[in-house]
Protein backbone atom coordinates (compact mmCIF):
# COMPACT_ATOMS: atom_id res chain seq x y z
CA UNK A 1 0.00 0.00 0.00
CA UNK A 2 2.76 2.40 0.97
CA UNK A 3 4.78 1.47 -2.12
CA UNK A 4 1.77 2.00 -4.30
CA UNK A 5 1.28 5.49 -2.98
CA UNK A 6 4.94 6.41 -3.51
CA UNK A 7 4.72 5.09 -7.07
CA UNK A 8 1.61 7.12 -7.69
CA UNK A 9 3.15 10.30 -6.29
CA UNK A 10 6.22 9.81 -8.44
CA UNK A 11 4.07 9.38 -11.50
CA UNK A 12 2.08 12.53 -10.77
CA UNK A 13 5.30 14.47 -10.27
CA UNK A 14 6.67 13.11 -13.56
CA UNK A 15 3.52 14.08 -15.44
CA UNK A 16 3.66 17.58 -13.98
CA UNK A 17 7.32 17.94 -14.94
CA UNK A 18 6.57 16.91 -18.53
CA UNK A 19 3.67 19.34 -18.73
CA UNK A 20 5.86 22.08 -17.33
CA UNK A 21 8.58 21.42 -19.89
CA UNK A 22 6.01 21.36 -22.70
CA UNK A 23 4.21 24.52 -21.72
CA UNK A 24 6.97 26.66 -20.19
CA UNK A 25 8.43 28.37 -23.29
CA UNK A 26 5.04 29.62 -24.45
CA UNK A 27 4.20 30.64 -20.90
CA UNK A 28 7.49 32.47 -20.79
CA UNK A 29 6.64 34.23 -24.02
CA UNK A 30 3.50 35.57 -22.34
CA UNK A 31 5.33 36.49 -19.12
CA UNK A 32 7.98 38.38 -21.09
CA UNK A 33 5.34 40.22 -23.11
CA UNK A 34 3.64 41.22 -19.87
CA UNK A 35 6.69 42.40 -17.94
CA UNK A 36 7.60 45.99 -17.24
CA UNK A 37 11.13 47.06 -18.17
CA UNK A 38 12.04 47.13 -14.51
CA UNK A 39 10.95 43.52 -14.04
CA UNK A 40 12.59 42.38 -17.24
CA UNK A 41 16.08 43.53 -16.34
CA UNK A 42 15.83 43.09 -12.58
CA UNK A 43 18.24 40.91 -10.65
CA UNK A 44 15.45 38.41 -10.00
CA UNK A 45 13.14 38.08 -13.01
CA UNK A 46 9.41 38.15 -12.60
CA UNK A 47 7.94 34.66 -12.93
CA UNK A 48 4.27 35.56 -13.21
CA UNK A 49 2.61 37.65 -15.91
CA UNK A 50 1.84 41.23 -14.89
CA UNK A 51 -1.63 41.78 -16.28
CA UNK A 52 -1.41 45.53 -15.78
CA UNK A 53 0.86 45.44 -18.86
CA UNK A 54 -1.83 44.05 -21.19
CA UNK A 55 -1.62 47.26 -23.21
CA UNK A 56 1.45 45.79 -24.94
CA UNK A 57 -0.84 43.76 -27.18
CA UNK A 58 -2.65 46.88 -28.30
CA UNK A 59 0.70 48.63 -28.78
CA UNK A 60 1.97 45.70 -30.83
CA UNK A 61 -0.95 46.08 -33.22
CA UNK A 62 -0.82 49.86 -32.89
CA UNK A 63 0.77 51.18 -36.07
CA UNK A 64 -1.06 48.72 -38.30
CA UNK A 65 2.18 47.12 -39.45
CA UNK A 66 1.69 43.96 -37.42
CA UNK A 67 -2.00 43.78 -38.29
CA UNK A 68 -0.94 43.94 -41.94
CA UNK A 69 1.49 41.03 -41.44
CA UNK A 70 -1.17 38.93 -39.79
CA UNK A 71 -3.64 39.77 -42.54
CA UNK A 72 -1.10 38.71 -45.20
CA UNK A 73 -0.49 35.46 -43.33
CA UNK A 74 -4.22 34.89 -43.15
CA UNK A 75 -4.67 35.46 -46.90
CA UNK A 76 -1.75 33.21 -47.81
CA UNK A 77 -2.92 30.48 -45.44
CA UNK A 78 -6.54 30.65 -46.60
CA UNK A 79 -5.54 30.55 -50.27
CA UNK A 80 -3.20 27.62 -49.68
CA UNK A 81 -5.92 25.71 -47.82
CA UNK A 82 -8.61 26.21 -50.46
CA UNK A 83 -6.34 25.37 -53.37
CA UNK A 84 -4.65 22.35 -51.81
CA UNK A 85 -7.95 20.83 -50.74
CA UNK A 86 -9.57 21.64 -54.06
CA UNK A 87 -6.78 19.82 -55.87
CA UNK A 88 -6.23 17.19 -53.19
CA UNK A 89 -9.77 15.79 -53.07
CA UNK A 90 -9.97 14.72 -56.74
CA UNK A 91 -6.40 13.42 -56.64
CA UNK A 92 -7.07 11.43 -53.48
CA UNK A 93 -10.24 10.08 -55.06
CA UNK A 94 -8.46 9.01 -58.23
CA UNK A 95 -5.75 7.27 -56.20
CA UNK A 96 -8.28 5.51 -54.02
CA UNK A 97 -10.94 4.40 -56.48
CA UNK A 98 -9.38 3.96 -59.90
CA UNK A 99 -6.64 1.81 -61.26
CA UNK A 100 -4.83 3.55 -64.06
CA UNK A 101 -1.53 3.55 -65.82
CA UNK A 102 1.11 5.47 -63.88
CA UNK A 103 -0.62 5.14 -60.52
CA UNK A 104 2.36 3.56 -58.77
CA UNK A 105 4.67 6.21 -60.20
CA UNK A 106 2.38 9.03 -59.11
CA UNK A 107 2.18 7.66 -55.56
CA UNK A 108 5.94 7.35 -55.46
CA UNK A 109 6.35 10.96 -56.64
CA UNK A 110 3.95 12.17 -53.95
CA UNK A 111 5.95 10.34 -51.27
CA UNK A 112 9.24 11.50 -52.73
CA UNK A 113 8.33 15.18 -52.68
CA UNK A 114 7.87 14.97 -48.92
CA UNK A 115 11.58 14.57 -48.40
CA UNK A 116 12.54 17.59 -50.52
CA UNK A 117 13.60 20.51 -48.33
CA UNK A 118 12.05 23.89 -49.14
CA UNK A 119 15.54 25.39 -49.04
CA UNK A 120 16.51 23.15 -51.97
CA UNK A 121 13.55 24.18 -54.11
CA UNK A 122 13.80 27.87 -53.37
CA UNK A 123 16.31 28.54 -56.17
CA UNK A 124 14.54 26.83 -59.09
CA UNK A 125 11.16 28.12 -57.93
CA UNK A 126 12.62 31.61 -57.79
CA UNK A 127 13.63 31.47 -61.44
CA UNK A 128 10.31 29.87 -62.42
CA UNK A 129 8.39 32.60 -60.59
CA UNK A 130 10.48 35.33 -62.13
CA UNK A 131 9.62 34.06 -65.58
CA UNK A 132 5.89 34.04 -64.80
CA UNK A 133 5.90 37.29 -62.88
CA UNK A 134 4.91 35.62 -59.63
CA UNK A 135 7.61 37.12 -57.45
CA UNK A 136 6.61 39.57 -54.74
CA UNK A 137 3.00 38.43 -54.84
CA UNK A 138 0.89 36.61 -52.30
CA UNK A 139 -0.50 34.49 -55.13
CA UNK A 140 2.94 33.17 -56.01
CA UNK A 141 3.59 32.31 -52.40
CA UNK A 142 0.30 30.42 -52.26
CA UNK A 143 1.32 28.34 -55.29
CA UNK A 144 4.68 27.48 -53.71
CA UNK A 145 3.01 26.45 -50.46
CA UNK A 146 0.40 24.33 -52.21
CA UNK A 147 3.16 22.49 -54.07
CA UNK A 148 4.60 21.40 -50.73
CA UNK A 149 1.42 20.59 -48.87
CA UNK A 150 -0.63 19.05 -51.69
CA UNK A 151 1.06 15.60 -51.62
CA UNK A 152 0.37 15.03 -47.93
CA UNK A 153 -3.18 16.39 -48.28
CA UNK A 154 -3.88 14.05 -51.21
CA UNK A 155 -2.42 11.02 -49.42
CA UNK A 156 -4.43 11.69 -46.26
CA UNK A 157 -7.64 12.11 -48.24
CA UNK A 158 -6.90 8.98 -50.27
CA UNK A 159 -6.64 7.07 -46.98
CA UNK A 160 -9.95 8.53 -45.82
CA UNK A 161 -11.72 7.62 -49.08
CA UNK A 162 -10.26 4.09 -48.87
CA UNK A 163 -12.27 3.72 -45.68
CA UNK A 164 -15.63 4.43 -47.35
CA UNK A 165 -17.42 1.30 -48.61
CA UNK A 166 -17.82 1.36 -52.38
CA UNK A 167 -21.43 0.17 -52.00
CA UNK A 168 -22.37 3.67 -50.89
CA UNK A 169 -21.25 4.98 -54.25
CA UNK A 170 -23.16 2.26 -56.13
CA UNK A 171 -26.47 3.60 -54.90
CA UNK A 172 -25.74 7.05 -56.24
CA UNK A 173 -24.53 5.59 -59.50
CA UNK A 174 -27.66 3.57 -60.00
CA UNK A 175 -29.52 6.86 -59.74
CA UNK A 176 -27.41 8.01 -62.67
CA UNK A 177 -25.00 10.35 -60.90
CA UNK A 178 -21.81 11.14 -62.80
CA UNK A 179 -18.41 10.41 -61.18
CA UNK A 180 -17.86 13.99 -60.07
CA UNK A 181 -21.32 14.15 -58.51
CA UNK A 182 -20.65 10.85 -56.71
CA UNK A 183 -17.48 12.35 -55.27
CA UNK A 184 -19.02 15.60 -54.10
CA UNK A 185 -22.34 14.17 -52.84
CA UNK A 186 -21.30 10.82 -51.39
CA UNK A 187 -17.62 10.90 -50.48
CA UNK A 188 -16.96 14.48 -49.51
CA UNK A 189 -19.54 14.62 -46.70
CA UNK A 190 -18.29 11.31 -45.32
CA UNK A 191 -14.64 12.37 -45.19
CA UNK A 192 -15.43 15.78 -43.69
CA UNK A 193 -13.31 15.12 -40.54
CA UNK A 194 -10.28 14.29 -42.69
CA UNK A 195 -10.89 17.34 -44.84
CA UNK A 196 -10.97 19.43 -41.68
CA UNK A 197 -7.67 17.88 -40.57
CA UNK A 198 -6.02 18.56 -43.92
CA UNK A 199 -7.41 22.10 -43.77
CA UNK A 200 -5.68 22.62 -40.42
CA UNK A 201 -2.45 21.09 -41.76
CA UNK A 202 -2.35 23.18 -44.92
CA UNK A 203 -3.53 26.38 -43.23
CA UNK A 204 -0.77 26.26 -40.63
CA UNK A 205 1.82 24.99 -43.05
CA UNK A 206 1.32 28.25 -44.93
CA UNK A 207 0.86 30.31 -41.75
CA UNK A 208 4.24 29.10 -40.42
CA UNK A 209 6.12 29.01 -43.73
CA UNK A 210 9.25 31.14 -43.79
CA UNK A 211 11.82 30.25 -46.47
CA UNK A 212 9.68 31.01 -49.51
CA UNK A 213 8.15 34.09 -47.92
CA UNK A 214 11.50 35.61 -47.02
CA UNK A 215 12.93 34.93 -50.49
CA UNK A 216 9.97 35.70 -52.77
CA UNK A 217 8.49 38.79 -51.11
CA UNK A 218 10.36 42.11 -51.34
CA UNK A 219 7.74 44.71 -50.48
CA UNK A 220 7.49 45.12 -46.69
CA UNK A 221 3.72 45.62 -46.90
CA UNK A 222 3.27 42.19 -48.49
CA UNK A 223 5.34 40.41 -45.88
CA UNK A 224 3.59 37.76 -43.76
CA UNK A 225 3.95 37.56 -39.98
CA UNK A 226 6.49 34.71 -40.09
CA UNK A 227 9.00 36.95 -41.88
CA UNK A 228 8.16 39.98 -39.78
CA UNK A 229 8.67 38.07 -36.54
CA UNK A 230 11.85 36.38 -37.77
CA UNK A 231 13.28 39.83 -38.48
CA UNK A 232 12.88 40.64 -34.79
CA UNK A 233 15.47 37.98 -33.92
CA UNK A 234 18.80 39.66 -33.35
CA UNK A 235 17.29 43.09 -33.97
CA UNK A 236 17.43 45.51 -31.06
CA UNK A 237 15.14 48.37 -32.04
CA UNK A 238 11.83 46.87 -30.94
CA UNK A 239 11.13 46.38 -27.23
CA UNK A 240 11.26 42.69 -26.36
CA UNK A 241 7.79 42.90 -24.80
CA UNK A 242 6.29 43.99 -28.12
CA UNK A 243 8.20 41.26 -29.95
CA UNK A 244 6.87 38.60 -27.60
CA UNK A 245 3.34 40.00 -27.72
CA UNK A 246 3.34 39.81 -31.52
CA UNK A 247 4.85 36.32 -31.47
CA UNK A 248 2.21 35.25 -28.97
CA UNK A 249 -0.61 36.51 -31.18
CA UNK A 250 0.99 34.65 -34.09
CA UNK A 251 1.33 31.42 -32.10
CA UNK A 252 -2.02 31.31 -30.37
CA UNK A 253 -4.22 30.45 -33.38
CA UNK A 254 -1.90 27.62 -34.42
CA UNK A 255 -1.90 26.11 -30.94
CA UNK A 256 -5.65 26.54 -30.51
CA UNK A 257 -6.50 24.85 -33.80
CA UNK A 258 -4.07 21.99 -33.27
CA UNK A 259 -5.52 21.30 -29.84
CA UNK A 260 -8.93 21.22 -31.45
CA UNK A 261 -7.99 18.98 -34.37
CA UNK A 262 -5.08 17.14 -32.74
CA UNK A 263 -6.49 13.64 -33.05
CA UNK A 264 -7.19 13.87 -36.77
CA UNK A 265 -4.01 15.74 -37.59
CA UNK A 266 -1.72 13.21 -35.92
CA UNK A 267 -3.58 10.27 -37.45
CA UNK A 268 -3.41 11.94 -40.84
CA UNK A 269 0.28 12.80 -40.65
CA UNK A 270 1.28 9.26 -39.81
CA UNK A 271 -1.16 7.66 -42.24
CA UNK A 272 0.02 9.91 -45.05
CA UNK A 273 3.59 8.98 -44.31
CA UNK A 274 3.05 5.23 -43.96
CA UNK A 275 1.13 4.65 -47.14
CA UNK A 276 2.76 3.38 -50.27
Amino acid sequence: MRRLRIGLTLRIVAVLVVLGVAAFPLYWMLVTALSSNADLFAERPRLLPDFSQLGVFVEGLGDGKVAGWLLNSLLIAAGTTVLSIGLGIPLGYALSRFSFRGKALLTLVLLFTQMLPEALMVVPLFSLFRRFNLLDSLGGLILANVAFVLPIVALILKGAIDGIPRELEEAARVDGARPLAVLTRVNVPLIAPSIAATAVISFFHAWNEYVFAVTFIFTPEKQPASVGIANFIGELGTPIQTVMAVAFMFTLPAVAFYLFAQKYVVAGMTAGAVKG
Partner: protein, 312 residues
Protein backbone atom coordinates in the same frame (compact mmCIF):
# COMPACT_ATOMS: atom_id res chain seq x y z
CA UNK B 1 -29.33 -16.41 -82.58
CA UNK B 2 -31.74 -13.59 -81.96
CA UNK B 3 -31.63 -14.40 -78.34
CA UNK B 4 -27.88 -14.13 -78.32
CA UNK B 5 -27.98 -10.78 -80.06
CA UNK B 6 -30.62 -9.55 -77.72
CA UNK B 7 -28.63 -10.45 -74.67
CA UNK B 8 -25.47 -9.11 -76.15
CA UNK B 9 -26.55 -5.61 -77.05
CA UNK B 10 -28.07 -4.52 -73.74
CA UNK B 11 -25.10 -5.98 -71.88
CA UNK B 12 -22.55 -3.70 -73.45
CA UNK B 13 -24.98 -0.80 -73.21
CA UNK B 14 -25.49 -1.28 -69.49
CA UNK B 15 -21.79 -1.68 -69.05
CA UNK B 16 -21.10 1.66 -70.60
CA UNK B 17 -23.84 3.39 -68.70
CA UNK B 18 -23.20 1.82 -65.32
CA UNK B 19 -19.49 1.38 -65.41
CA UNK B 20 -18.29 2.48 -61.97
CA UNK B 21 -15.27 4.04 -63.58
CA UNK B 22 -17.00 6.24 -66.13
CA UNK B 23 -14.86 6.26 -69.26
CA UNK B 24 -11.24 5.17 -69.17
CA UNK B 25 -10.22 8.81 -69.11
CA UNK B 26 -12.13 9.60 -65.93
CA UNK B 27 -9.24 8.96 -63.50
CA UNK B 28 -6.99 11.26 -65.49
CA UNK B 29 -9.58 14.02 -65.37
CA UNK B 30 -9.65 13.73 -61.59
CA UNK B 31 -5.93 13.73 -61.09
CA UNK B 32 -4.82 16.01 -63.92
CA UNK B 33 -5.03 19.38 -62.13
CA UNK B 34 -3.07 18.18 -59.09
CA UNK B 35 -0.60 16.14 -61.13
CA UNK B 36 0.05 19.12 -63.38
CA UNK B 37 0.63 21.21 -60.29
CA UNK B 38 3.14 18.77 -58.85
CA UNK B 39 4.83 18.54 -62.24
CA UNK B 40 5.20 22.30 -62.67
CA UNK B 41 6.08 23.24 -59.11
CA UNK B 42 8.01 20.17 -57.94
CA UNK B 43 9.22 17.87 -60.72
CA UNK B 44 10.44 20.49 -63.19
CA UNK B 45 12.14 22.66 -60.54
CA UNK B 46 13.81 19.55 -59.11
CA UNK B 47 15.06 18.58 -62.57
CA UNK B 48 16.38 22.12 -62.95
CA UNK B 49 18.12 21.88 -59.59
CA UNK B 50 19.73 18.58 -60.59
CA UNK B 51 20.96 20.26 -63.77
CA UNK B 52 22.29 23.21 -61.75
CA UNK B 53 24.39 20.87 -59.62
CA UNK B 54 26.48 20.09 -62.71
CA UNK B 55 27.06 23.75 -63.56
CA UNK B 56 28.95 26.73 -62.26
CA UNK B 57 26.16 29.25 -61.76
CA UNK B 58 26.07 32.35 -59.61
CA UNK B 59 23.07 34.00 -58.04
CA UNK B 60 23.97 37.23 -59.79
CA UNK B 61 23.64 35.64 -63.22
CA UNK B 62 21.44 32.59 -62.66
CA UNK B 63 20.55 31.90 -66.29
CA UNK B 64 24.16 31.85 -67.52
CA UNK B 65 25.54 28.70 -65.99
CA UNK B 66 28.56 26.88 -67.34
CA UNK B 67 28.54 23.08 -67.54
CA UNK B 68 31.31 21.74 -65.32
CA UNK B 69 30.35 18.08 -65.00
CA UNK B 70 31.12 16.63 -61.59
CA UNK B 71 33.31 19.55 -60.52
CA UNK B 72 30.96 20.79 -57.80
CA UNK B 73 30.78 17.35 -56.25
CA UNK B 74 34.53 16.84 -56.43
CA UNK B 75 35.05 20.24 -54.83
CA UNK B 76 32.60 19.84 -51.95
CA UNK B 77 33.82 16.35 -51.12
CA UNK B 78 37.37 17.66 -51.03
CA UNK B 79 36.40 20.49 -48.71
CA UNK B 80 37.00 19.97 -45.01
CA UNK B 81 34.20 22.32 -44.06
CA UNK B 82 31.84 20.07 -45.94
CA UNK B 83 33.13 17.03 -44.04
CA UNK B 84 32.29 18.88 -40.84
CA UNK B 85 28.83 19.66 -42.26
CA UNK B 86 28.27 15.97 -42.97
CA UNK B 87 29.34 14.99 -39.47
CA UNK B 88 27.14 17.71 -37.94
CA UNK B 89 24.21 16.52 -40.04
CA UNK B 90 24.63 12.94 -38.88
CA UNK B 91 24.96 13.95 -35.25
CA UNK B 92 21.97 16.25 -35.53
CA UNK B 93 19.80 13.62 -37.21
CA UNK B 94 20.77 10.75 -34.92
CA UNK B 95 20.34 12.73 -31.71
CA UNK B 96 16.99 14.07 -32.97
CA UNK B 97 15.74 10.59 -33.81
CA UNK B 98 16.91 8.97 -30.59
CA UNK B 99 15.91 11.96 -28.48
CA UNK B 100 12.48 12.48 -30.01
CA UNK B 101 11.53 8.79 -30.16
CA UNK B 102 13.03 8.01 -26.75
CA UNK B 103 11.43 10.92 -24.92
CA UNK B 104 8.20 10.31 -26.81
CA UNK B 105 8.16 6.70 -25.65
CA UNK B 106 8.87 7.68 -22.05
CA UNK B 107 6.06 10.24 -22.05
CA UNK B 108 3.68 7.84 -23.80
CA UNK B 109 4.35 5.14 -21.18
CA UNK B 110 3.77 7.72 -18.48
CA UNK B 111 0.45 8.80 -19.95
CA UNK B 112 -0.67 5.28 -20.83
CA UNK B 113 -1.86 4.59 -17.29
CA UNK B 114 -5.33 5.95 -16.75
CA UNK B 115 -5.59 8.90 -14.38
CA UNK B 116 -7.85 11.83 -13.91
CA UNK B 117 -7.03 14.72 -16.24
CA UNK B 118 -5.22 12.55 -18.76
CA UNK B 119 -7.15 14.14 -21.60
CA UNK B 120 -6.00 17.60 -20.53
CA UNK B 121 -2.41 16.40 -20.07
CA UNK B 122 -2.44 14.82 -23.50
CA UNK B 123 -3.72 18.02 -25.07
CA UNK B 124 -1.25 20.23 -23.21
CA UNK B 125 1.81 18.30 -24.24
CA UNK B 126 0.98 18.89 -27.91
CA UNK B 127 1.59 22.63 -27.47
CA UNK B 128 5.26 22.56 -28.60
CA UNK B 129 4.37 20.59 -31.72
CA UNK B 130 1.69 23.09 -32.65
CA UNK B 131 3.81 26.20 -32.12
CA UNK B 132 5.20 27.73 -35.33
CA UNK B 133 8.93 27.14 -35.85
CA UNK B 134 9.51 30.90 -36.08
CA UNK B 135 7.98 31.49 -32.67
CA UNK B 136 9.95 28.60 -31.21
CA UNK B 137 13.21 29.98 -32.59
CA UNK B 138 12.34 33.42 -31.21
CA UNK B 139 11.48 32.29 -27.69
CA UNK B 140 14.42 29.88 -27.57
CA UNK B 141 16.82 32.67 -28.54
CA UNK B 142 15.32 34.90 -25.87
CA UNK B 143 15.42 32.20 -23.20
CA UNK B 144 19.07 31.51 -24.10
CA UNK B 145 19.99 35.21 -24.14
CA UNK B 146 23.37 35.68 -22.50
CA UNK B 147 22.36 38.45 -20.11
CA UNK B 148 18.66 38.23 -19.44
CA UNK B 149 17.72 34.75 -20.63
CA UNK B 150 15.94 32.64 -18.04
CA UNK B 151 18.12 29.62 -18.87
CA UNK B 152 21.33 31.42 -18.01
CA UNK B 153 19.83 32.93 -14.89
CA UNK B 154 18.80 29.48 -13.78
CA UNK B 155 22.15 27.90 -14.65
CA UNK B 156 24.01 30.66 -12.82
CA UNK B 157 21.76 30.24 -9.80
CA UNK B 158 22.60 26.54 -9.53
CA UNK B 159 26.26 27.16 -10.29
CA UNK B 160 26.34 25.59 -13.75
CA UNK B 161 26.54 28.81 -15.73
CA UNK B 162 28.31 28.85 -19.08
CA UNK B 163 31.25 31.29 -18.99
CA UNK B 164 30.13 34.46 -20.73
CA UNK B 165 26.65 33.00 -20.92
CA UNK B 166 26.21 33.12 -24.68
CA UNK B 167 25.14 29.53 -25.22
CA UNK B 168 24.26 29.99 -28.89
CA UNK B 169 27.66 31.59 -29.56
CA UNK B 170 29.55 28.80 -27.86
CA UNK B 171 31.09 26.20 -30.17
CA UNK B 172 30.56 23.66 -27.43
CA UNK B 173 26.97 24.35 -26.39
CA UNK B 174 25.29 25.73 -29.52
CA UNK B 175 24.52 22.35 -31.09
CA UNK B 176 23.18 20.83 -27.85
CA UNK B 177 20.96 23.91 -27.42
CA UNK B 178 19.60 23.64 -30.96
CA UNK B 179 19.09 19.90 -30.47
CA UNK B 180 17.25 20.42 -27.20
CA UNK B 181 14.95 22.96 -28.86
CA UNK B 182 14.31 20.61 -31.79
CA UNK B 183 13.53 17.65 -29.54
CA UNK B 184 11.31 19.86 -27.41
CA UNK B 185 9.30 20.61 -30.51
CA UNK B 186 9.18 16.99 -31.71
CA UNK B 187 8.44 14.96 -28.58
CA UNK B 188 4.71 15.79 -28.47
CA UNK B 189 4.25 14.27 -31.91
CA UNK B 190 6.15 11.08 -31.14
CA UNK B 191 4.49 10.66 -27.76
CA UNK B 192 0.95 11.13 -29.09
CA UNK B 193 1.58 8.63 -31.90
CA UNK B 194 3.20 6.14 -29.51
CA UNK B 195 0.43 6.62 -26.97
CA UNK B 196 -2.16 5.53 -29.49
CA UNK B 197 0.07 2.57 -30.41
CA UNK B 198 0.33 1.60 -26.72
CA UNK B 199 -3.43 1.73 -26.40
CA UNK B 200 -3.73 -0.84 -29.14
CA UNK B 201 -1.69 -3.34 -27.11
CA UNK B 202 -4.19 -6.07 -26.14
CA UNK B 203 -4.86 -5.99 -22.41
CA UNK B 204 -5.25 -9.74 -22.01
CA UNK B 205 -1.77 -10.27 -23.46
CA UNK B 206 -0.05 -8.04 -20.89
CA UNK B 207 -2.22 -9.57 -18.20
CA UNK B 208 -1.33 -13.10 -19.27
CA UNK B 209 2.35 -12.18 -19.19
CA UNK B 210 2.01 -10.80 -15.66
CA UNK B 211 0.10 -13.92 -14.59
CA UNK B 212 2.96 -16.02 -15.90
CA UNK B 213 5.18 -14.14 -13.52
CA UNK B 214 6.85 -11.82 -15.98
CA UNK B 215 8.17 -8.62 -14.44
CA UNK B 216 7.36 -5.21 -15.85
CA UNK B 217 10.42 -5.05 -18.04
CA UNK B 218 9.89 -8.57 -19.39
CA UNK B 219 6.25 -7.79 -20.14
CA UNK B 220 7.28 -4.64 -21.96
CA UNK B 221 9.91 -6.45 -23.98
CA UNK B 222 7.89 -9.52 -24.86
CA UNK B 223 4.44 -8.02 -25.39
CA UNK B 224 4.34 -4.23 -25.64
CA UNK B 225 7.52 -3.73 -27.65
CA UNK B 226 6.44 -6.30 -30.23
CA UNK B 227 3.22 -4.39 -30.86
CA UNK B 228 4.71 -0.90 -31.01
CA UNK B 229 7.87 -1.86 -32.91
CA UNK B 230 6.54 -0.97 -36.37
CA UNK B 231 5.34 2.40 -35.10
CA UNK B 232 8.74 3.10 -33.56
CA UNK B 233 10.33 2.24 -36.89
CA UNK B 234 8.00 4.53 -38.78
CA UNK B 235 8.61 7.39 -36.35
CA UNK B 236 12.37 6.92 -36.62
CA UNK B 237 12.06 7.19 -40.40
CA UNK B 238 9.86 10.29 -40.19
CA UNK B 239 12.16 11.99 -37.69
CA UNK B 240 15.15 11.26 -39.92
CA UNK B 241 13.55 12.78 -42.98
CA UNK B 242 12.19 15.79 -41.10
CA UNK B 243 15.55 16.42 -39.46
CA UNK B 244 17.35 16.22 -42.79
CA UNK B 245 15.13 18.98 -44.17
CA UNK B 246 14.74 21.17 -41.10
CA UNK B 247 15.75 24.73 -41.87
CA UNK B 248 14.16 27.66 -40.13
CA UNK B 249 14.69 26.60 -36.53
CA UNK B 250 18.46 26.16 -36.99
CA UNK B 251 18.83 29.09 -39.36
CA UNK B 252 17.05 31.53 -37.08
CA UNK B 253 18.79 30.33 -33.93
CA UNK B 254 22.40 30.17 -35.15
CA UNK B 255 22.61 30.55 -38.97
CA UNK B 256 24.79 27.42 -38.79
CA UNK B 257 27.36 29.03 -36.51
CA UNK B 258 29.39 29.43 -34.41
CA UNK B 259 32.21 28.34 -36.75
CA UNK B 260 29.88 25.96 -38.53
CA UNK B 261 29.08 23.91 -35.46
CA UNK B 262 25.36 23.79 -36.19
CA UNK B 263 25.63 23.72 -39.97
CA UNK B 264 23.58 20.86 -41.40
CA UNK B 265 23.31 20.14 -45.14
CA UNK B 266 20.24 22.30 -45.61
CA UNK B 267 21.81 25.26 -43.78
CA UNK B 268 24.98 24.85 -45.82
CA UNK B 269 22.96 24.70 -49.03
CA UNK B 270 21.06 27.89 -48.22
CA UNK B 271 24.20 29.75 -47.18
CA UNK B 272 25.98 28.67 -50.38
CA UNK B 273 23.08 29.87 -52.51
CA UNK B 274 22.25 33.16 -50.83
CA UNK B 275 25.43 34.20 -49.05
CA UNK B 276 28.21 32.80 -51.24
CA UNK B 277 25.84 33.15 -54.23
CA UNK B 278 27.09 29.84 -55.66
CA UNK B 279 23.96 28.16 -56.99
CA UNK B 280 25.89 25.26 -58.52
CA UNK B 281 27.59 24.05 -55.36
CA UNK B 282 24.41 24.77 -53.38
CA UNK B 283 22.54 22.42 -55.72
CA UNK B 284 25.29 19.81 -55.37
CA UNK B 285 25.01 19.97 -51.56
CA UNK B 286 21.26 19.63 -51.90
CA UNK B 287 21.68 16.53 -54.06
CA UNK B 288 23.87 14.93 -51.41
CA UNK B 289 21.01 15.47 -48.95
CA UNK B 290 18.45 14.02 -51.36
CA UNK B 291 20.62 10.94 -51.97
CA UNK B 292 21.04 10.43 -48.20
CA UNK B 293 17.26 10.63 -47.75
CA UNK B 294 16.72 8.16 -50.57
CA UNK B 295 19.22 5.73 -49.04
CA UNK B 296 17.52 6.02 -45.65
CA UNK B 297 14.05 5.45 -47.13
CA UNK B 298 15.11 2.51 -49.32
CA UNK B 299 17.13 1.00 -46.48
CA UNK B 300 14.24 1.25 -44.05
CA UNK B 301 11.88 -0.39 -46.51
CA UNK B 302 14.32 -3.24 -47.09
CA UNK B 303 14.65 -3.73 -43.33
CA UNK B 304 10.87 -3.65 -42.91
CA UNK B 305 10.48 -6.23 -45.66
CA UNK B 306 13.12 -8.50 -44.16
CA UNK B 307 11.51 -8.26 -40.74
CA UNK B 308 8.09 -9.02 -42.21
CA UNK B 309 9.54 -12.07 -43.94
CA UNK B 310 11.13 -13.36 -40.75
CA UNK B 311 8.01 -13.23 -38.61
CA UNK B 312 5.06 -13.45 -40.95
Amino acid sequence: MTLLEQTKVPRSATRRRRSPLGSRWTPYLFLAPAALFVLVFQAIPLAQEIFLSFTRTTLLNPTRGRWVGLDNFVRIFGDEDFHRTLVTTFVYVIVCVVGAVGSGLAVALLLNRGFRGRGIARALITVPWAAPGIAVALIATWMLNAQYGIVNRFLNAVGLGVPGGAILDSPKYALPAVLATTIWQLFPFTSVVLLSALQSVPHDLTEAATMDGAGRWATFRVVTWQVIKPVVGLLALLMTIWSLRRFELIWLMTKGGPVGRTETLVIDLYAQAFESKELGSAAAIGMVGVVISLIVITGSRLVARAVAKENP
